[in-house]
Symmetry: C2
Subunit: 317 residues, 2 copies
């Protein structure tokens, strides 16, 4: 009836009745039932956002920018966390799609067959984010992780380092870290170099692990002249270890991480890194969903290019 019109600012309603209705609504503390509304209108203003982890720091930042963009639209983000488990991703996705959201933003390109099928059948915009190396279901925005790895390797070689150690997470399901590593190794191989030593960790405080791994790898392989870390947090740990132990950085040992986290700016020396552009990724993804839900069209592919920041730990050649 008229009430519905008022509450949604639709159609022609006289000011008098409009006033009466809004007033009554406020007085009764009325909160509309979107469930019924959504069922009737077949429209839901929710956007499903699915990420692997909240403890990674990177993802909260992506969420923040998604939030920023959607704040200016009628859309509402709804987050789900998969803990890097494909089956969990599948179930979270199932759960979310069953609410018929206006769009899906999901990290990565690797999904179970069932998950992929669900998304293809869902008939809503799907944006896969972060990674670019693979076949998207629908839209995609991110950086080529493989290329990021390559470029870092090339810069390291160019700077004259030859005995290179790698440290990273021991998570077979972190496909982005894996692809960076692959790109990195490939580029080294192209230059006839092999990784001299490596060290993996899982769980625990990344900063502490970075210290520990760095100590271990340098004790085991004292000839190393460069350490590449798969993320900035362990890189920062390594940097702090080197500084505390009088190791000359970048003279004796060069260091680099990945992500460009804000934290690095506060350290005594700037760790070399590559900005993963996660704010831009979040914005672009949200903008695609917003545009599509307005019926406008939007890019199918947004490629961002991570920029190498030399900082103070990688000799600029």
């Amino acid at each position: 009836m008229t009430v519905s019109r008022v509450l949604r600012n639709r159609g022609d309603v006289s000011d008098a009745t409009r006033l009466k209705v809004t007033e009554a609504a406020k007085r009764l503390g009325y909160v509309p039932n979107k469930i019924a509304g959504a069922l009737a209108s077949q429209r839901v203003n929710l956007v499903a956002v699915i990420i692997p982890s909240l403890s990674n720091m990177v993802f909260p930042e992506v969420l923040t920018s998604i939030n920023e963009v959607l704040d200016e639209t009628p859309l509402q983000p709804v987050f789900g966390v998969t803990n890097y488990q494909p089956e969990k991703e599948e179930s979270v996705l199932f759960e979310m799609l069953s609410w018929r959201p206006s769009g899906v933003i999901i990290a990565g390109l690797e999904h179970t067959d069932a998950a992929r099928a669900m998304m293809r059948n869902a008939d809503v915009p799907i944006v896969e984010i972060m990674d670019l190396d693979g076949d998207p279901i629908d839209a995609i925005v991110g950086v080529s992780q493989r290329r990021a790895g390559r470029e870092m390797a090339e810069a390291i070689i160019k700077a004259g380092y030859r005995e290179i150690g790698f440290m990273g997470t021991n998570m077979p399901l972190d496909h982005r870290a894996r692809k960076r590593f692959e790109g990195f190794s490939e580029a080294l191989a192209d230059a006839g170099i092999e990784i001299s030593d490596q060290e993996f960790y899982s769980g625990g405080s990344a900063l502490v692990k970075g210290r520990e791994m760095t100590e271990a790898i340098l004790k085991r392989s004292p000839d190393l002249d460069f350490l590449y870390y798969s993320n900035d947090m362990i890189g920062a740990g390594g940097l702090l270890y080197c500084l505390a132990n009088g190791i000359d950085v970048p003279g004796q040992v060069g260091l680099a991480g990945f992500n460009g986290v804000e934290l690095l700016n506060g350290l005594p020396k700037q760790l070399a890194t590559m900005d993963a552009e996660r704010h831009k990724i979040g914005r672009a993804a949200a903008e695609i969903i917003a545009a599509r839900s307005r019926g406008e069209d939007a890019p199918q592919r947004v490629e961002l290019t991570p920029k190498l920041q030399f900082g103070d730990t990688l000799i600029r050649s």
Copy 2:
């Protein structure tokens, strides 16, 4: 009809038909419409989780533990972010309540009147988290921020420090930081001490801000013998500044932060801090919602007590 029964594992259905249905469902990539289901059953497995910020590090951790607990139930968390703005909180709450969630977990005790009214009328379990100093709407779990501030002040005084500087965020709407500061000042006042100097910041990288503020305050007030930071990130920045500038910690200047963030373990020295128990808070809150949604009863108030960690920057007296 029967299909519905199968899909929900309810009632008596013959194995034959059950099989037929599940198979067809899988083949068609069927995803049930929870909107219709929720409307019919008047039950929704969503739990609204409302927090001020994602960049604060503290909140992702709370979310993580909420997630952990709800993972073992049919409930699904749904996050909303308020950016510390009461009106935004109100609108997020409105939006979420309009989906008739099974419960609400919301940070803090300060809300607009309208928000408070909505929650009171919502007829679902409401758990206010983090803070304990105020009147809860329904259930509450957290630590007394005021007391946390007091205890830190008392420890500092006991350790013999007298010229105390304070650094914190310039956010009038961060009520928890404010209450800690109030408790801190009160305890100092009880001992006849006043804060000698203070410095506030907003925005930017907390670690960098910590360095900068520490430099500024020490240049301005060289007599300070203790610096209390309203959070660990700026405290860590301050610590790094002191170490880099040959300031003897905790001999010449003592330092303390708040939160007990994991990051601190990786620093060259352990910053004194108080663990805000955010994992326990998340767990307890989620458990209350889970219990209540099962019809069991649950505690109305869970008081956690932050533990002082002296680390290496506060003389143990």
